[in-house]
């Protein structure tokens, strides 16, 4: 057993960490949020240049064959800067599905562009009624003369407004809740039959609701009717990615709170000298450490099993969700009024820690899956 980082991992961590420190300070992030696209293409190109976009892909596909541990390292550092660039949407979700399910021609067409930072993608899976059930797909793909057309509504598609190409989960057979009968399609996001309402999420990430009205598909991705296992796998991977991001974000939330408690004076003393608050900050610290530990467990299990361990992933998401909840709330409360302001980063960290709790299954959902998996 050895939990220390390899020299390659140390290098990845250092390079992302350096980027966050030097090029992703809070003011820079604020400017990115205000820009039309809501993310920085310059940063995106830099991610490509530094090889981060190659990390999730196998060497066979032209990538770096990064492990889940490598990916988690990047995401943890991203969490420290609450990075809004669509790494998960494009590289982990859409790119991951193409890598897992695509044929050689599809891989050749999309993966190099993703890794070069030249293509934005999104995975459209959730629907207004589906909550967190990945098998709950109403959106239909019907075949006429060998061509599939898609009809339906996908909700809160991450990066959906900036994506040029979409991976869409649609039903090719069966009923809304059947496990079988779901297929993946590549769809041109700019096709006139695609209606997109883009918006920024409360955490600063870009997203869109998307309506398909007899939309022609570019291609079927993977086996017809049998996409659910691949969808489950890629969502599980994205789940661990946001877990890692939360661990990084919590670290900064705790650092900021401690700094503040050590300098803010009321009643003639720093508020950090009050035992009532000291114990609460110790709890925040413990939560962060527990979160870090369970992340490590799930990441190592995923890497050693060469597949996904649903129980381990849900254990991580559940425990980290609980930690993110406490750390987020307490960091605002201990900051007091100033923590409520848009101009301080702690409120933005809190917002991301909140949305992560509800992304890819809520804390309770994952507790339940842990119990039944």
């Amino acid at each position: 057993m050895d939990f220390s980082l390899s020299s390659e991992q140390q290098m990845i961590q250092d390079s992302v960490s350096k980027f966050i420190l030097n090029d992703y300070d809070f003011e820079t992030r604020r400017k990115i949020l205000k820009s039309a696209a809501g993310y920085s293409q310059d940063n995106w190109s830099l991610f490509a240049e530094l090889g981060w976009l190659m990390l999730p892909f196998s060497e066979e596909d032209g990538g770096l064959s990064g492990s889940m541990a490598d990916l988690a390292l990047v995401m943890e550092e991203f969490g420290k800067g609450i990075v809004v660039e669509p790494f998960i949407a494009t590289a982990v979700l859409a790119g991951g599905l193409i890598a897992a399910s695509g044929n050689q021609q599809q891989k050749d067409l999309y993966l190099p562009k993703i890794m070069a930072g030249e293509l934005q993608m999104a995975f459209a899976y959730a629907e207004p009624q589906s909550r967190y059930h990945l098998n709950n797909v109403k959106c239909s793909a019907t075949e006429t003369q060998g061509e599939f057309v898609i009809n339906g509504h996908k909700s809160v598609v991450l990066n959906g407004n900036n994506a040029e190409t979409l991976v869409v989960a649609a039903r090719t057979s069966g009923d809304t809740q059947d496990n079988n009968g779901i297929s993946l399609f590549l769809v041109d996001a700019n096709h006139p039959s695609v209606k997109r309402e883009g918006y920024t999420n409360v955490d600063g990430h870009q997203a869109a609701d998307i309506w398909f009205d007899n939309t022609p598909t570019l291609e079927l991705l993977g086996d017809q009717d049998n996409a659910l296992p691949a969808i489950n796998n890629v969502i599980d991977k994205a789940t661990l990615a946001v877990c890692a991001e939360a661990v990084g974000a919590m670290q900064i939330a705790n650092e900021r709170t401690l700094e503040y408690a050590k300098t803010r004076k009321q009643f003639g003393y720093t508020i950090g000298s009050f035992q009532a608050l000291q114990h609460r900050m110790v709890n925040m610290f413990i939560e962060h450490q527990q979160a870090k530990s369970i992340l490590l467990m799930a990441v190592l299990k995923m890497d050693s099993n060469e597949g996904v361990d649903a129980k381990a992933i849900s254990a991580a998401k559940s425990r980290i969700g609980k930690a993110a909840n406490l750390v987020g709330r307490e960091s605002i409360q201990i900051h007091g009024g100033i923590g409520m302001t848009d101009e301080l980063d702690v409120g933005h960290i809190f917002k991301r820690l909140t949305t992560i709790q509800y992304l890819f299954g809520s804390t309770d959902n994952h507790t339940k899956r842990f119990a039944t998996a």
Binding site: A126, P128, Q129, S130, R131, Y132, H133, N136, S155, V156, T176, Q177, K195, E197, Y199, T200, N201, V202, D203, A207, D209, K265, Q266, F267, A276, L277, R329, I332, Q333, G336, G337, G339, M340, T341, D342, E343, G347, H348, F350, K351, T354, T355, Y358, S362, D364, T367, K368
Partner: protein, 399 residues
């Protein structure tokens, strides 16, 4: 000891219900039910409707135009208002400065200020907190130096809620020498916000809204007859006010209504297989909040009953603030949970007048995260929950 409403009280309940049905503007109640911010005009409109009915001064003495209601009547009124989606009155005039004026002000001040407050002709805001004086309010630095018939005020107040709309501000200011003990140097001063030497700068909060402000005073001259009571007594006046205020702060009636709505939402949130309300974990969370709220309701009723038998609400009223805000925030969180993915989109413009684009997600979901973020303030303002805990610890438990 009994729980039932008397025949008169039931009649009163009917009267309130009928009034709300007839007079509460639908555009206002629908905004409240959706958790949206009201415009200044909408608040004023509603408060003037209440005034016309003679119901603006709920806690005021009858001689100044108050309702003279019993605590049971107030309880009925609050519950009916919350159910109907009536907005809270903006407290700064009607519930905060008015009691100080009618309790500690002189006759001239009562004549000058109270009628306009009751009629909602002026908008008041509160000037207490400062950057260095939050929980430690007595550490405030804004000064008011006597110069003939005037005070010259310098300093900056912060977290001034809706100060951007205000005509007047009531301030705690330092009048004593710097050497004076904190509490003994603080005075209660009323200041006209239209003075050109006052500037208001907005503070945007994490939910993206502009509710609070900084208010800067730069050599502002204030007539000395705007001082309430005696110099150096401001702290005492403010404290009396705060203790009385803590009853309303439990927010029992609105929380009850929001729980009812949350349950309806969870009943209709259906993935085709089951309703959210059928999820035993979610149902249990709702039930726990409901049970806590029931206990809080009776804690508040005990406090009200004590007041109605002539006792002042004691420091135990701090319980109302602590538990009330825990429940508010707990409900907020369940709304976010119920909204699932649709808690995330930030599309405030879809609720603006004249918006004709595509609505994103169900209306009940759209503001869930923003409300959750915004209401983190409730455990911070009005004396943070930590300060309330200290009050109970010191004043009730004697620790």
């Amino acid at each position: 000891m009994n729980l039932d409403f008397s025949a008169e009280e039931k009649e009163f309940q009917q009267e309130v219900r009928q009034f709300l049905q007839q007079k509460l503007p639908k555009n206002i109640s629908s905004k409240i039910k959706k958790g949206l911010h009201l415009l200044k005009e909408e608040y004023v409109q509603w408060q003037q409707i209440l005034h016309k009915q003679g119901w603006a001064g709920v806690n005021w003495p009858v001689e100044h135009g108050g309702t003279g209601w019993t605590s049971t009547q107030k309880y009925i009124f609050d519950n009916e208002c919350a159910q109907a989606g009536a907005p809270d009155v903006i407290p700064f005039g009607l519930k905060m400065v008015a009691p100080v004026i009618y309790t500690f002000g002189n006759e001239e001040q009562k004549q000058r200020f109270l009628p306009d407050i009751l009629a909602s002709k002026v908008w008041w805001c509160q000037g207490y907190s400062e950057t260095g004086a939050g929980s430690d309010l007595a550490g405030l630095k804004t000064t008011a130096v006597r110069d003939g018939d005037e005070y010259i005020v310098n300093g900056t107040k912060t977290w001034t809620t809706l100060g951007q709309h205000a005509d007047w501000i009531f301030c705690l200011v330092r009048t004593g020498p710097p050497s004076a003990k904190n509490q003994e140097a603080i005075s209660f001063l009323l200041i006209n916000m239209h003075d050109p030497k006052i500037t208001v700068s907005p503070i945007i909060t994490i939910d993206g809204s502009h509710e609070v402000n900084e208010v800067h005073f730069d050599e502002v001259r204030v007539p000395a007859n705007n001082l309430i009571g005696a110099e150096g007594q401001g702290w005492t006046y403010a404290k009396v006010l705060l203790t009385h205020e803590r009853t309303g702060i439990a927010r029992v009636a609105p929380s009850k209504d929001r729980l009812i709505q949350l349950k309806q939402l969870a009943e209709t949130s259906d993935d085709g297989n089951s309703k959210l309300m059928d999820d035993p974990i979610f149902a249990q969370k709702v039930a726990n909040l409901e049970i806590d709220l029931l206990a809080l309701e009776y804690t508040e009723l005990r406090t009200l009953s004590a007041i109605s038998t002539g006792k002042a609400p004691g420091p135990e009223s701090s319980i109302l603030k602590i538990v009330g805000t825990q429940i508010i925030q707990g409900i907020d969180e369940l709304y976010v949970e119920a909204a699932a993915y649709y808690s995330m989109p930030y599309v405030p413009q879809q609720f603006e007048e004249g918006f004709d684009g595509q609505h994103i997600g169900p209306d009940t979901a759209a503001n869930s995260a923003l409300t959750f973020f915004n209401n983190r303030k409730t455990s911070i303002y009005g004396g943070s929950n930590e300060i309330q805990t200290n009050i109970i610890s010191k004043a009730v438990l004697g620790l």
